[in-house]
């Protein structure tokens, strides 16, 4: 009563009076366009756009951090150095860390908030299908991860071609860039699926962030430890391997050459990041000294595991919201 009284009082005091209810007979967006609108809204949300200043801190810092090597490279190249950073690996340690932070903090922003505030029934009551909600979120977050991955590469490219001369040099840079962009796409597609699925399991944002961060860091650490264990066993006895011959006979000392064992290759299957690396090298990428070693023909297993993880996470995400609708 009191609220409506004050409302009508306010209306009477102002020039614009109650115009009454007006129907809407303009165009209506179809399902695809609504998905697009939701995806765009979520994409902006992944960078804190349209939100308060606090929401922008993490994505902005993360993006700047990832872009710094490209800027440093441009500076170095302008001083006459060759290109310092590879397009396909970019700075691996930095990228692992920053992307982990980014998806751990921003995936909950996209899905956990809506769970927390219980706004989902309002989405389900809209003229879209239940699957459209996770679909839009996934498209949005893949796009956001893609920005995080590709913008530094494009900066690197821009800085590089500004400092090389001649069409062939530019073409060489371009040819090197393209695999890098594809690697970025692989990262974005998989990381978005993993982090959104994990984040969608809880409406508590802190838990969601923790879950994503722990799963990504834990699996990575696990894979790294296994790699080191395997690596040490490989190099371990510096005395080398005794081959054949009866006791007392001649001893053939094999030169210590690091050849990844099967166990070594299997270790790389435990973390998305080592999987990315393995698949990248399997497809012909450079083989950095540290991290996973080139899986060779085993790379197809890396690719299959990666696809399986992607499929499982997407299925889990869809199932999560189907269950949410019925609850």
């Amino acid at each position: 009563m009191s609220a409506s009284t004050s409302a009508s009082a306010a209306a009477a005091g102002s020039v614009i009076h109650d115009l009454g209810y007006r129907r809407y007979d303009g165009p209506r967006l179809g399902r695809a366009q609504i998905i697009r609108a939701l995806a765009w809204h979520s994409f902006r949300g992944a960078f804190g756009l349209g939100r308060g200043a606090k929401a922008k801190i993490v994505p902005l810092v993360a993006l700047v951090a990832l872009c710094l090597p490209a800027v440093v490279n441009a500076f170095a190249m302008s001083k006459g150095n060759p290109r310092l950073v590879d397009y396909d690996t970019y700075t691996p340690a930095l990228r692992d860390l920053v992307m982990t932070v980014f998806v751990a903090v921003q995936a909950p922003e996209l899905v956990s908030r809506d769970l927390r505030s219980r706004v989902l029934p309002l989405y389900f009551a809209r003229p879209i299908k239940t699957i459209d909600y996770p679909l839009a979120k996934y498209l949005a977050f893949t796009g956001a991860c893609l920005v995080m991955m590709e913008v530094p590469l494009l900066l690197l490219y821009a800085g590089s071609i500004a400092n090389v001369h001649g069409g062939s040099a530019v073409w060489a840079q371009t040819r090197a860039l393209i695999p890098g962009l594809l690697v970025g796409l692989m990262w974005a597609v998989v990381l978005a699926a993993i982090s959104l699925f994990l984040a969608s399991l809880t409406g508590r944002r802190a838990f969601a962030t923790g879950a994503v961060a722990i799963v990504l860091l834990l699996t990575f650490t696990l894979a790294e430890i296994l790699l080191q264990v395997e690596g040490q066993q490989n190099q371990g006895p510096q005395v080398a391997v005794v081959k054949g011959g009866p006791p007392g006979g001649p001893v053939h000392v094999q030169p210590i050459l690091y050849v990844p064992s099967l166990a070594d290759k299997v270790s790389g299957l435990f973390s998305p990041f080592t999987l990315f690396d393995g698949v990248r090298m399997w497809l012909g990428g450079t083989d950095p000294a540290d991290g996973v070693s080139s899986p060779g023909g085993f790379g197809v297993v890396y690719a299959l595991v990666l696809v399986a993880i992607l499929a499982l996470c997407l299925y889990g995400l869809a199932a999560r919201y189907r269950k949410e609708r019925l609850s």
Binding site: S4, A10, L19, Y21, L38, G50, L122, I128
Partner: protein, 345 residues
């Protein structure tokens, strides 16, 4: 579970006399032998057959009566185990998206993000209803104005009172220009003043905006004021569906509490032609008209009893339908749920 458990006659057999004038308009909702059995064997709806005419209709039922399940089926979010439902001409199973295009839904529970402004939120929800960006902004502003949120609409929702939040929930349902609103317990959590304001708002939307409304509630006394018709369900079945007049005519009772002399008052009221029943430490008298109040007043005065309370009782739906006194000959609709009850029109 056969679907034929629905009570009675279809629309064709509905009463010719339709006080609310909705006789020619097609029903906004037609439920036919609607059954929903959840996995695990819980029957939420057991063969519900009922039509909702245009206008404001109260959907009355205790908690667990099947109201929320019915609403979810009507929105096309839950598939019925058996039977069909049509909303504004669309089948709930095959035409869910068309239904949700023209139906606004206000859930019972809290469903608002605390850290955005009402304007942003309602605009976004308007877009999700299929409005282009500009139209969504305009309609969000209008919807918020209609529900009585003015300057506050730029504030974050987290700073709102419960009453204001309920208004935002209503505004987001209005933003997409629905032809039908499904409101689930819209007065939940509001104080009496807030309840009145919300009910007035709903009535206004129904009457002035010409939007059909279904108001689900477990408090009959509250929504009977604003509804043209009532549909009462219990245990997933139709108890009764009728216009509000025939519903309440026989349902109003007067509660009288005296400090002493309850038995004497009871006898005297019987002698004067009323039918009091003892209820705890007070008497309940069916209200036959204005004269009932006078009779009670005079009786209390004549007996010189210390009257401590006399009020018109607000019914909760359970007692309305359970009260055996209601099935007396002077209540024409007493055989509810049997004949014409199936059609609210």
């Amino acid at each position: 579970m056969t679907p034929s458990t629905g009570s009675g006659a279809g629309p064709a057999a509905g009463p010719a006399a339709d006080a609310a004038g909705g006789a020619l308009a097609p029903p906004v909702i037609e439920a036919n032998a609607l059954t929903k059995v959840y996995p695990g064997g819980v029957t939420a709806l057991g063969g519900l057959t009922v039509n909702f005419a245009p206008g404001v209709t109260g959907l009355i039922g205790a908690n667990g009566a099947g109201k929320s399940t019915l609403i979810k089926i009507l929105l096309g979010l839950v598939e019925p185990t058996n039977g069909t439902a049509r909303v504004l001409g669309h089948d709930s199973v095959t035409g869910g998206e068309q239904i949700r295009q023209v139906v606004g839904y206000m859930p019972e529970h809290d469903c608002l993000p605390p850290d955005v402004s009402a304007t942003e939120f309602v605009t976004h929800m308007g877009r999700m209803s299929g409005l282009p960006a500009t139209a969504a902004r305009e309609r969000a502003a209008e919807a918020l104005r209609h529900v009585g949120l003015h300057e506050e609409r730029y504030r974050q929702i987290g700073t709102y009172s419960t009453g204001m939040k309920q208004r935002v929930k209503l505004a987001q349902a209005l933003a997409g220009d629905p032809r039908l609103l499904l409101l689930d317990e819209p007065t939940n959590g509001l104080d009496p003043a807030g309840r009145n304001a919300m009910l007035e708002l709903i009535e206004r939307i129904g009457v002035e905006f010409g939007i059909s409304i279904v108001v689900a509630s477990h408090l009959l006394g509250e929504i009977e004021r604003i509804c043209d018709r009532l549909v009462a369900i219990e245990g997933g079945r139709l108890l009764r569906a009728d216009t509000i007049d025939s519903f309440t005519r026989s349902s109003q009772t007067l509660l009288i509490e005296v400090e002493e002399g309850l038995a004497a008052l009871h006898d005297e009221l019987v002698r004067r032609g009323l039918r009091p029943t003892t209820y705890q430490r007070s008497l309940l008298v069916p209200i036959g008209g204005v004269a009932t109040y006078d009779t009670v007043r005079d009786t209390v005065a004549d007996l010189g009893l210390p009257l401590s309370r006399m009020e018109q009782r607000r019914h909760q739906v359970e007692e309305l339908f359970r009260d055996p006194g209601r099935t007396s000959p002077d209540a024409p609709g007493a055989g509810f749920g049997e004949q014409e009850a199936a059609d609210v029109r």
